[in-house]
Symmetry: C2
Subunit: 460 residues, 2 copies
């Protein structure tokens, strides 16, 4: 019987534990969870604040009882403090503050990431009680919920305009608050080209969000009027005050435990693993937002995503039991709903492709989600990136109204990227068509044909 310990109650740790129990029910599986909320959907938190998800308990993918029913043991409110690699022992701090050593045969570390503070002076000293928030855990969720309920803040500044920032802007607007969204770069949602980010920007503005771009926040302080953020905008000083400030500027890998145990750091200062989720430390595996990401087009990078964590966790669980599965690699597929708009991307954008050694070109196109004669057709805006040397598909970005099936249309590109198809092969795909839901050449192929037409001279 294998004694397996997984650290982390989020996607990677739980996926690993579930997979191990599924593959070999004789495996003794313990999951060490720092809080008491294992297997909660962190991606769902913004929808708790819009009011669409209630009660908060429904955010659990599975309840503790569900998890225990699979035969795993949960050690909640238990914090992993050290790994004795040679002795195969994990030290944990128990809920009562005592330290305990747990023996293991195989250890899987899924300690995830921590919210970045982006070097904002004064942020560390402020707390949720002051109205300063991050949002990365159920604890953060309860703190924000409490603040919203008790202080009833009317205005919010959101520092950051990435996925969570945009979703939280929608949540605050839905609650009737005024929202100012600050973005360091020239356009919101910087994971997309600015031409498409601008469509998201318009959607935010339409719904009443004040979007301020080119703004770097350097400090935050408590003032009589609330919380005041300071920084610069287009080279000029910038200052704004609100009842509440939410800082959502990305994450940094939580590597302390593995670093202390002797693991190496790589891309994004995340823990280095191979495709098999091996850390290089004997019998120690790792998965999730704390490790580097193997990317099918970029090689090794850092791109923390829940979908990837699930896959890596599943592989770690499998390999810890003696299997030899390899992570097939991310292609960076992502999607976000912003009010009534859906924005998605997969693969590489121009500048990323150049860095990776490709010779890309990116071509814009727009095509209706279904035949225009049938009611409710809306254009989807595309940017397709392909390699001008061999016609290989390198990436796709899509923005369309909710209901235009953008989220699953990006998956067609993601599948083509996985298979290494050229854009010409993409045109050959036999995709579904009925007038209320598509076109004889699906919108994704119309966009691909626009790329081919623009690059015809290069390829012939």
């Amino acid at each position: 019987m294998t004694h397996l310990i997984a650290i982390g109650g989020s996607d990677a740790g739980i996926s690993a534990a579930l997979r191990a129990r599924e593959l070999d029910p004789s495996t003794d599986v313990t999951v060490v969870v720092a809080d008491e909320y294992p297997n909660f959907s962190i991606c769902g938190i913004p929808y708790y604040f819009t009011g669409e998800v209630a009660p908060w308990q429904s955010l659990a993918h599975r309840t503790s009882a569900d998890l225990e029913a699979t035969g795993m043991r949960l050690r909640l409110n238990t914090f992993a403090t050290g790994i004795d690699v040679a002795g195969r022992r994990l030290t944990v701090r128990t809920p009562d503050g005592a330290f305990e050593d747990l023996a293991y045969d195989e250890l899987i570390v899924g300690t995830g990431a921590l919210p970045s503070h982006a070097g904002i002076a004064g942020l560390e000293a402020l707390s949720p009680e002051d109205g300063a928030h991050v949002i990365h855990s159920m604890g953060d969720t309860f703190a924000l919920d409490h603040d919203l309920t008790t202080r009833q803040p009317q205005s919010a500044i959101i520092v950051g305009a990435g996925y969570v920032g945009l979703e939280m802007a929608e949540a605050f607007i839905t609650r009737g608050m005024t929202v100012t969204q600050l973005q360091r770069g020239p356009e919101v949602l910087s994971t997309l080209d600015p031409e498409l980010g601008a469509l998201v920007h318009d959607e935010l503005t339409t719904h009443g969000v004040e979007v301020v771009t080119n703004t770097t926040v350097t400090g935050i302080e408590k003032t009589p009027a609330g919380l005041t953020v300071n920084g610069s905008r287009d080279g000029q000083p910038f200052e704004q005050t609100a009842d509440l400030v939410l800082v959502v500027v990305g994450v940094r890998p939580n590597t302390e435990l593995l670093e202390q145990a002797g693991a190496s750091l790589g891309a994004g200062r995340a823990v280095v693993v191979d495709e098999h989720m091996r850390t290089g430390l004997p019998h120690v595996w790792a998965a999730g937002d704390g490790i580097v990401t193997h990317h099918r087009l970029l090689g090794v990078t850092y791109l923390p995503l829940g979908t990837t964590s699930h896959k890596q966790g599943r592989i770690a669980g499998e390999n810890a039991l003696g299997s030899d599965r390899a992570f097939a690699g991310s292609v960076g597929t992502q999607v976000v709903k912003v009010f009534d708009l859906v924005a998605a991307r997969t693969g590489l954008r121009d500048h990323e492709a150049i860095t990776a050694g490709f010779t890309p070109a990116t071509v814009a196109a727009a095509a209706d989600d279904h035949k225009r004669y049938y009611p409710g057709a809306h254009p989807i805006h595309f940017r397709i990136t392909g390699d001008t040397s061999d016609g290989r598909l390198l990436g796709a970005q899509l923005v369309g109204r909710r209901g235009t099936e953008v989220a699953k249309r990006v998956d067609t590109y993601a599948t083509a990227l996985y298979a290494g198809l050229t854009i010409e092969q993409f045109d050959d795909l036999d995709l579904s068509y009925t007038p209320p839901l598509g076109s004889p050449w699906d919108a994704v192929q119309v966009a691909a044909q626009a790329w081919s037409a623009a690059n015809a001279k290069v390829l012939v």
Copy 2:
């Protein structure tokens, strides 16, 4: 300058003509169209009868003026009667009944298919004025429209429960008519396994369609009460009368012109072409519903679909100008909306896979379209077919409510089929996720994992 003639105003002929004009604007292109409605969306006709599409002119993908603006010449109401292959001349009957010979360098035949009468006695002798209809052309559309408007029939029998039959049932119900749908086999929508067809059956019943399965119609006659269809149901005599009868039992390839010119017939009694759309007759190409279909899994078959016609037409237009493109092959991807349900399939079902020499297994699964905690989640019902010898994905069938992105989820399977992925590789795909629109393992992957779990012993 090449003189190119395309015969047929539907998907194949127009696609060929457009592609030729696009690739070489010096090409002299004439399209011979039997009626005066080139480039109409035949797939959209049912939505004219639901009232969702109006006026009928909006069913045109492009107007005649649009087409002529590309530089092609349209010969409307002109019927191709004979090909002099050696002399490279096409004989046509002009609108005034005269015969005219047209010289060509290259000829592309896209004469499509004709509605099948399924050997129903008496049908040939009846006309739209009698209330007996087929629906395959704009002429059929106008005849049905006229009948509905002038006679105001209250009841309809639809013979056939395939795509068009189901869409027309919805149209008649929307217009307040009573509808009886007769199906020869044990379940409606026989392109799906009956377990999924049953869901479509329920949807029809819920919306008031009387569905009668296991019923073969052998005759139809005019009676004092209307039109009476006769046949057998479960071995017993069957008879039913209605104000109107619509026969939609599939199509047969319209091959007369090419047969007379010396072309061979193959699968489904369709004209044999190679992947390059060559008929074997010098300088004569063919595309669309009149020719055999190259299928990536089945080899040569007959599977007429608009998406395929577009691709074949485009290739014929390209190759007629000297190119050497090959049709990459169909995988049989299809989708239909039936009231509030969407049903889709791609690839092979069990019995088809067995016939094609695979060793398949099909596994059922259901998974929510997005995270259940977010409002509006609905299950999608899947049947996944894979090869038990090597784990290769062979096919997928999906049924879900409208809005569950079934139409574009089937495209992920279609892309994987094109690339020849295994079901395990399908699980490795990096698909998009946000709680309102998906799950960390997308529903399509949950279904694939169900297949893998059920066939684990076979593969390990």
